[in-house]
Amino acid sequence: MGWAIALHGGAGDIPRHLPPERRQPREAALQNCLSMGVAAIKANKSPLDVVELVVRELENVPCFNAGRGSVLTNSGTVEMEACIMDGNTKRCGAVSGLTTVVNPVSLARLVMEKTPHIYLSFQGAEAFAREQGVQTVDTSNFITSENVERLKQAKEANRIQIDYTQPVIMASKGEYEETNPNLDSQIG
């Protein structure tokens, strides 16, 4: 038996020809977060502390779909979600519908530790964040130009997209094509 750590920055239809300028920052962020996590484990931080630390760092990287860089709703707004769970005790906390909280995972931990509940959402979660004094910013700080463009593409194609979805382009027309009858991206 020994320690182990794994982390992810999202799954999807990641193109194999991903340009270096899009690939390298993500690889560097993964490596940085892994190093932070390993160092925390070696410093005898609890598993709960380590996962919170690592996910906070991932939330702060704008090229991943969490925190700054979160994708947009059909109204162009941000609604972030997070969850944390302790395997020993099964204590857990979750939040959703956040629009101003810088690190949703830490608010999820506060839900776990400071309330008798498991899950807070939308206005209640935002009010709890204010009450707990967690860092908040104007919601515009989470929105990146890349995600504004992604929303535009998704709306033009009338579909939803998971973290990494390539636009389907009709080569002959240069238009977005919906290939699935249920108007959803089934290929990731």
Binding site: M1, G2, W3, A4, I5, A6, L7, H8, G9, A11, G12, D13, I14, L30, Q31, C33, L34, G37, P47, V50, V51, V54, V55, L58, F64, N65, A66, G67, S70, V71, L72, T73, N74, S75, T77, V78, E79, M80, E81, A82, C83, I84, M85, D86, G87, K90, A94, S96, V105, A108, I118, Y119, N147, I160, Q161, I162, Y164, Q186, I187, G188
Partner: protein, 130 residues
Amino acid sequence: TVGCVVVDGNGSLATATSTGGLVNKMVGRIGDTPIIGAGTYANRFCAVSATGKGEEIMRATVARDVAALMEFKGMSLEVAADYVIQHCTPKGTAGLVAVSATGEVTMLFNTTGMFRACATEDGYSETGIW
């Protein structure tokens, strides 16, 4: 979506996941991440964080199923996670990272790729996309 799972040298487990959801999702839509047992779950057997299309991950109760297969069928982490990803979720919709109480680690997906990294006490380390 981003996530992290950890087991320490005593076999204690934890998981965390955070996300913005789906591009062009309806206002008010809840995904799998905050639903305990869907995108995120940990018990004394394993810790799991999932990513992908939330609606499919919720239907398959991905994270809890991995733990249940280990607890009730005695599967290893690798076999349980592989079963859930390959047989319980539609192709192109899900991925997960997981660790077990005995220090196993797995990172599986049925999408084209998943940004991922892991390390273990014995010195193994991996970073990958596809």
